[in-house]
Symmetry: C2
Subunit: 341 residues, 2 copies
């Protein structure tokens, strides 16, 4: 294995950033074919191989220190596995392994998990939440650089990265508007009994984005078209039917997440309505096993778990988490267009 060249050499010769080289090495999709080709040619020319061997990791102490991720149930929910992948691929590009512990059960376990990582001399900690929300952390969290992922502390005293929910809700609604839809139902996440969004960034933000897009098209907000689901299959189905059986039926439904879209598909099937010809459907999450599995495949908004994981690692490795002002970075939620809208 050639050890003469490093990732900076590749970046320099290919005329790209170090991050781009990392992404090529890690088969990250967000690299154009041209760029990928250019980087791979340099890699081949230099006979470069990433310096990842276990022997290297053992002898070089600076790389030996792991990297901790405390997952507030995140590890046991399928939605957020991309966050772990994003963080780990960014680390692995530097020859570092990540230790993951799950603190999802209670405050004692969070404390124990944190101690377990600190005692193993991690150089940074990512604290990840299952859904976008405020969290409270033990005092000892401040001993090493930390970034909160998919969550934040109320006083914003620690850096965090969270989805740009407003932009996501806007993108979904704008897409439907641009396709000519003017009556767009919205099954938001919340409590069907209380007709207001819960105090959660996902519900509030997506609703704000929905309203913002409607306003841009001079369409007045119609409260009849908005409802809230607790996300049980029964709720999702029932509320979808309620909206679809309005006398003046909407031609499109924006579903608060991909599971809600499953209930909406069921209601449409029972009503004999086709997706997207009769009613267009957009989801949220891009939870691939649903959105890439339904028929027709679901147009949805991507929760940027991969990007958030990567951003958190890069922010720590850059030294900013230790020394800079705490920021809250909003990660983009891109629209993924498939066939349902």
């Amino acid at each position: 294995m050639s050890q003469k060249h490093n990732i900076e050499d590749i970046a320099h010769l290919a005329g790209v950033s170090r991050g781009t080289v990392s992404r090529v090495l890690n088969h990250h999709p967000a690299v154009s074919d041209d760029t990928r080709q250019k980087v791979l040619e340099v890699i081949e020319r230099l006979n470069y191989r990433p310096n990842f061997s276990a022997r290297h990791m053992r002898t070089d102490n600076s790389n030996m220190v792991g990297f901790g991720l405390i997952a507030d149930e995140v590890i046991t929910t399928p939605y957020a596995v991309d966050m772990i992948r994003g963080a780990q691929e960014a680390l692995w590009a530097q020859g570092k392994v990540m230790l993951v512990v799950n603190a999802g059960y209670n405050a004692e376990m969070t404390q124990a998990s944190l101690e377990a990582l600190l005692e193993r001399r991690v150089e940074g900690i990512i604290y990840a939440a299952m859904f976008h929300r405020p969290v409270e952390l033990p005092q000892s969290a401040g001993q090493v650089p930390i970034v909160l992922t998919n969550c934040f502390v109320e006083d914003r005293s620690l850096p965090s990265v969270v989805p740009d929910e407003v932009a996501g809700g806007y993108a979904a609604t704008k897409h439907l508007l641009s396709k000519g839809h003017r009556r767009i139902g919205f099954i938001n996440l919340g409590d069907p009994e209380r007709n207001v969004p819960p105090p959660l960034p996902a519900s509030n933000g997506r609703l704000a984005g929905y309203k913002q897009a409607l306003a841009e098209y001079d369409i007045p907000f119609d409260p009849e078209l908005l409802c809230y689901t607790k996300q049980t299959p029964e709720d999702n189905y029932r509320l979808a039917r309620q909206i679809l059986e309005l006398p003046n039926r909407p031609t499109a439904v924006f579903c608060g997440n991909d599971r809600t879209a499953l209930g909406c598909y069921g209601a449409l099937s029972d009503l004999g309505l086709r997706v997207p010809d009769d009613v267009a459907v957009v989801g949220f999450d891009n939870f691939i096993d649903i959105s890439g599995g339904t028929w027709p495949p679901l147009t949805t908004v991507q929760l940027p778990h991969y990007e958030m994981g990567r951003w958190a690692v890069e922010y720590i490795l850059s030294g900013q988490a230790a020394s800079g002002e705490p920021v809250q970075h909003l990660a983009n939620c891109p629209l993924i267009i498939r066939e349902s809208a």
Copy 2:
């Protein structure tokens, strides 16, 4: 917090096993209401609180040692998060935290992950695979007790726990037979071009179970009713339609996994057929975000990820992984009856 009593005291006074007490403490579903009540009464009477504090973990070295799980991509696939939960809850009941590393990328990373765990003095290692298959491990894997989860080494020289695929395929088919179905389509996992199952325990085993159940009802196996999907949404939809448009249409379809069932739901909707009245559907995996999200909710077979994770930990903690003959434990795949069959 009372430290006078331990989990053995609870078990003794409640007249149950230590494992049952653990399960009650961990809110595991596999405990009857009566037993749970009995255990909780003893816990309340003794004012017992599990001895989980971080302080305890730090001062007692025997509990300080973490527990490693190397995940062959498992951590980045939503299907297997229950495996991590099962392992961790079994450990947490003993005040132990689990370190998880992801080795999913290549042999070098597997080696590096293994070294990272060994150097952190873990007392045992679980090696988990994303799907049920044979694996190869680095030599150094033998330095601490190890259990392979959802995988095995070809020569069976290491203990492993895997799903009982045959029993799962049998349970799905038997359920449909018991409901009166006699023509049962089977969309198995594999390659549509080659009309044989791939050499994977999931495909082979479930097919064997399907045939076994048919034989029990004296129904000859009809190759026309069997097809294979690569699990793309297009494949799933197309193959479901192919089976559903046979001149002598089956009244039930057994889908090789829950994603396949999504394509089958789409085909049934397009054909104007109702689930389960016109055609019954059974899935496999019990991937809750699909099976508990579809309308109607999906009857399916549970992949026993939680049980496998728990079994692996308990086998190591019991000392058998270190000292006993290597076994292959088959974990039961129970049928989860919802509304689609």
